[in-house]
Symmetry: C2
Subunit: 409 residues, 2 copies
């Protein structure tokens, strides 16, 4: 009988599951995963009555529970009368997605195509980029950043069938420039804002974009709404190259507070947008954003156009600064709402458990989510957390081994 030897050029389930599953089991065994709780007024309550505040929720501005967002969802359900009118949108569509895309396009100052999730958007777009159909017609060398989110890295084998794929060191600009010198066209795939707290080097990348025509594909899911004027995110706030050489996807499921995702494009002709609609994987055949999410997103977009967004961003930043005044992390002083409180691989689970018992959920991160030896408790600050809650969290984090911020720093 033939036995199969896998190629494992771009992924390796044996390795990922072998290492990852043991840690997840350990997390769950220690009560830090597999938690089920009802959400009530910003507090989570388990069936056994344990109450806690979630410090690992990505709804950085608490727009997810904003009454206007929920009522926007209800209004759209009533107006359209269906969650979806099931037929590929390229054939016949109710105006829901077009209204969503027009509103987000105006808000973000881009041509916006919607998708059911950022992962689905990336899985659909990256192979089109690899084959040169989204770009300038030349198949680019696809360079994936080593730490690009799983939703990006998952596209490697597919891209490899349409072009060539390599993985580069984190933000390795020298490597990128070297490839730009060798290949007619290069596409760099990277998180605009990454899930462990950092931004892509947009300005340095823009130099390569201008010099070599480098195409950059950003996932800016963690900074949309939370960052920039009207919440346009980190990339669109700072990237000097907003034309066909920069493609950004961002979820609407985090700070934006609804569900779905936005693909932000500039400078592409209508024909290319049609090719996306028709050939970008699941965008062409599968479910669109449902009308409830469209309505919620339209309502959230309206909030983004008002002073309220600025107020919410300010509250989030005040909470970040308060946390930074209490606990020292590598991220101290940055605008990013995520902090990793360093712990050893041996203590991280127990520390997380003790914090949870005191009424706060912070998620232990560990290999394969982060490299070995860089474990920690991931803290996400939000606009809606109270100063009292943040003070209390800081106290217990220090009790379980976090470094206090030196007075005056």
């Amino acid at each position: 009988m033939k036995r199969i030897e896998p190629a494992n050029l771009y992924r390796n389930n044996d390795k990922a599951i072998g290492v990852g599953n043991a840690f997840w089991d350990l997390s769950e065994h220690n009560g830090l995963a597999g938690i089920v709780a009802e959400l009530d007024n910003g507090v989570l309550r388990t069936e056994s009555g344990h109450e806690f505040v979630n410090f690992t929720c990505c709804s950085y501005l608490d727009l997810d529970s904003h009454p206007q967002v929920i009522e926007g969802a209800v209004a759209a359900l009533r107006r359209f009368g269906v969650l979806d009118h099931c037929i590929p949108r390229g054939r016949v569509q109710i105006p829901a997605l077009l209204e969503l895309e027009a509103s987000l396009g105006e808000l973000f100052g881009a041509d916006v195509v919607s998708a059911i999730s950022a992962g689905v958007a990336s899985a659909g777009l990256l192979p089109l980029i690899a084959s040169g159909h989204l770009g300038n017609g030349v198949r680019p060398l696809m360079v994936f950043d080593k730490y690009a989110h799983l939703s990006l890295a998952a596209a490697k084998p597919t891209c490899a069938d349409e072009s060539e794929v390599v993985t580069c060191g984190h933000h390795d600009l020298d490597f990128l420039e070297d490839q730009c010198k060798q290949y007619e066209r290069v596409c760099y795939v990277v998180d605009g804002s990454d899930s462990l707290g950092g931004y892509a080097p947009v300005e340095e990348l823009a130099v390569l974009q201008e010099k070599y025509g480098l195409l950059v594909f950003y996932d800016d899911s963690h900074s949309i709404s939370a960052y920039g004027e009207r919440g346009i995110g980190y990339i669109r706030s700072h990237c000097p190259v907003l034309d066909e050489r920069t493609i950004t996807v961002a979820t609407l499921n985090k700070a934006f507070g609804s569900s779905g995702a936005a693909i932000m494009l500039d400078g592409y002709p209508k024909e290319t947008l049609r090719i996306i609609e028709r050939f970008a994987g699941a965008l062409s055949y599968s479910q669109p954003v449902n009308t409830a999410a469209v309505g919620a997103s339209l309502a959230s977009a309206e909030i983004h156009r008002t002073e309220e967004l600025t107020t919410l961003q300010q509250r989030m930043r005040a909470n970040i600064e308060l946390f930074d005044s209490l606990v020292k992390t590598d991220q101290t002083g940055t605008s990013y709402p995520i902090r990793i409180v360093p712990m050893s691989d041996e203590t991280v689970i127990d520390a997380g458990r003790r914090v949870y018992e005191r009424g706060f959920y912070v998620s232990p991160v560990f290999f394969p989510i982060v490299p070995r030896g860089t474990a920690g408790l991931r803290v996400m600050l939000r606009a809606g957390q109270t100063a009292e809650q943040i003070h209390a969290l800081g106290e217990v984090l220090i009790e379980v081994g976090a470094l206090p911020q030196a007075v005056g720093e």
Copy 2:
């Protein structure tokens, strides 16, 4: 400068887009694609005032616009107060998905895991099957049916990095048996009910499952709700092997009338279900079904438990029979709600245009959706269409070249 020659072992955008885009452009130029219309009481109305009935909508039972389904969505939005509580469900979750999975599990008589779409479910599960983690630990040869839906075929390059991938002829049981004799383990990936009107040979496949331990992965999206007692679909109605050797995914976005998808499993231990939650691609990191869709699905599941479902199925079947009494197709007499009215590659677009002008949308299908020379107008029957509408459609179809059913047949 280096130019890239693509491998194109499993996909070829040049080919797909080269052929496909011209036909889409032609469809759109003739007003049969890119249609935008408001839905009102089962009738679509364009901005210019043209009214038509959609005969290419997959909501076979019209549950999408059922008032209980819409009110279920509203109730869930109000109860949970968010569309999603953004954190991977493996860490912390509100009970929404668990309630959905418990309800669907009871309805379909299976262990159900939810996903945001059937495409996302398949993209997550197939690589886990390829690596042996969802199955019996042995990496199977992954055999994809030639006509497997794009959402399945898209997983080929990824599966090829975890195992070996081949494509077989449509329902080629001899080929499958031959592979079963050569390989320790084989997985066959196929539509349970396909989008052009046909079912998988479940009983013949069950023989191979019993004899060789063949694993079969079905996408039964087109028959769930529309077929079987309580809408369990074609596969779960007829497959004699409902254990770990049969895995079925189905969308909730077609006849079920909501959004999202259900993965139906039998006989897997809790540990395997956890592996799916943690490592099945987007299921582990991306958006879950939002609470509006959860509420709509719970309401639809309740309807599935009543006589109303049987009534709706009967109405759909009566409409299918009425259509069959008027127009001859290869599908005449079958239980499937899809008919392809044959047209030549040259006439199909014009025929579709004339039907649309008379107030009915039927979608022209053509290469690469179907092989060259097998073009036609795809008609989907639903419970909610009236006898008058079906009679009128039959009439115009015959005017544009369809074959009438002979009297007495």
